[in-house]
Amino acid sequence: MTELSVGAARVPTAASGVLRTVVTKIVTAIIVLLCVATVAFFLVRLSGDPVKLLLPPDATADQEATLRASLGLDRPLITQYLDYLAGLLRLDFGTSLVYDQPVADVLLERLPATLQLAAAAMVLALVISVPAGIIAALRRGKAGDTGVMTGVLIGQSTPPFWVGILLILVFSVQLKVLPASGYGTFTHLVLPSITLAAYSVAVIARLLRSSLIDVLSSDYIRTAKAKGLGTGGIVLSHGLRNASLPVITVIGLEFGSLLGGAILTEQVFAWPGSGRLTIEAITNRDFPMVQAAVLFFAAIFVVVNLLVDISYTVLDPRVRLGR
């Protein structure tokens, strides 16, 4: 867990410590994104000649050369790469081969749907997993714990997109109470967000349980008990606060699997988000679009984790002071 909090600076004063840590983290995030952009660029180039795919098989060498030149693919690789990086700095991600529009515009247009889905799923996941984790930790070894851990085990073993298919089968096909696909109203959001939340519920519940168990067996909890504080007070004022740190980190990491899960969930429910757009782009060999989508998902993930890391620094004095 701590591997992520890069270079906690050993500086005596709190303010400069925070600043230095934050700056280090931002620089690291930028380097990570640069690497991702580079990998995406070369991966796309490795995968074959887009010109051959875009033209019918009987195209002449002349036509190939013209298209190659118009796409800028006739230049040396290094020039293309530097151009691409320069474009990124101007937030210019290229033009979609399919939509014939700037890639960024198409992606941004589809983004709200994905964010709406991911946010709803994250809220739902927390609403279910946090009470489940607390119950399991407090009732350790008893029926409540066994129930939660069985649920966690089943949840971890069930492919979430299949959960989506089952939900459609029950609520759309059999009961006919919720739509199986589409976008726009609250009812459309219900099944996809449950499906996507299924990704994270098990992971968060399991982690909260184990970190709460760790915290509850520590000395200061014993002191609190000795003072005569009730279980509720202990869990709320001491336990959750201390158990929340690793959980917050994992929520940040889970956001990545939520984004990955969104790709599948959007496919199951024909949800018009950026995940579905990515799948379309890969199927259509829309190279600039795929390149941008990969970078885009990585950027969201890196930024969320940067914020998590920074909030961690601010929340936990030990990290803040680099001790």
Binding site: P159, A298, F301
Partner: protein, 297 residues
Amino acid sequence: MTAITVAIPTGRARTASPLRAVLRNKLALVAVVVLALMLLAAVFAPLLAPHDPNAQDLLVRLRPPAWMAGGTSEHLLGTDQLGRDLLSRLIYGSRISLLVGASAALLAGIIGATIGLVSGFLGGWFDRVLMRIADIQLAFPSILLALAIVGFLGSGLWYVIIVLGFTGWVSYARVVRSEVLSLRSREFVTEARAIGVGNVTIMRRHLLPNVMAPLATIGTLHVASAIVAEASLSYLGMGVPKEIVTWGAMLANGQLYLGTAWWLAVFPGVALMCAALAVNVTGDVLRDVADPKAYRR
């Protein structure tokens, strides 16, 4: 030389054997039996499957399972829209799931263990660079990376295995590295170095055997996630080629017939869940044996 390396206690409880732990735990016993049955089904698929999984028979399209009205004992779990036998397809589908799951976990384990060993043992800038690469790898939604690679390189069994192997190494590397960090200053390592044993030999002969237990645990759990990941790719139509029967592709097809033939989208999912569940339970038992302290996680 080898005589020195055996029986080095690492502080882990080694008294409980995995076999005894499995026998003690009924759930684990069920899981191992399920896993063994699936393995048998995969290996002997041509003998066990009642029909050719790709044989079409349009006279018996979309037949429900045998116990429902309209079902026949000829097709125990029913048929799909082309009249292909669902049970036979499930049996053949287990081959891909288990093969990809095990191979991807093995590949990821080899890559991760090597990186973790080298990183933890050598330390220094080498370690820092490798761990930074691990962070970058984690920053990448692996399904997206897998999609991008398979989408571009084309679909193929080996691509899927390689992609899932290469996207899964980080957790192995981190665990092995942290184990090695605590092992490398132990006497059996420092003394081996003192008598002039080379780095590679130390890593292979002295360190690797001591990290096998956690490696086996992560590996088992990774098989489950690789099975689900392969099914996800196949569901999206980007896994193995379409001619090969996979549970994921069966689910994608089944979703099209949810209104008329629920069994097409239910049974492949049940198979997937059982496989992943059996592997996960086995992995949990392995972990309890390897590291009793971690039992509550």
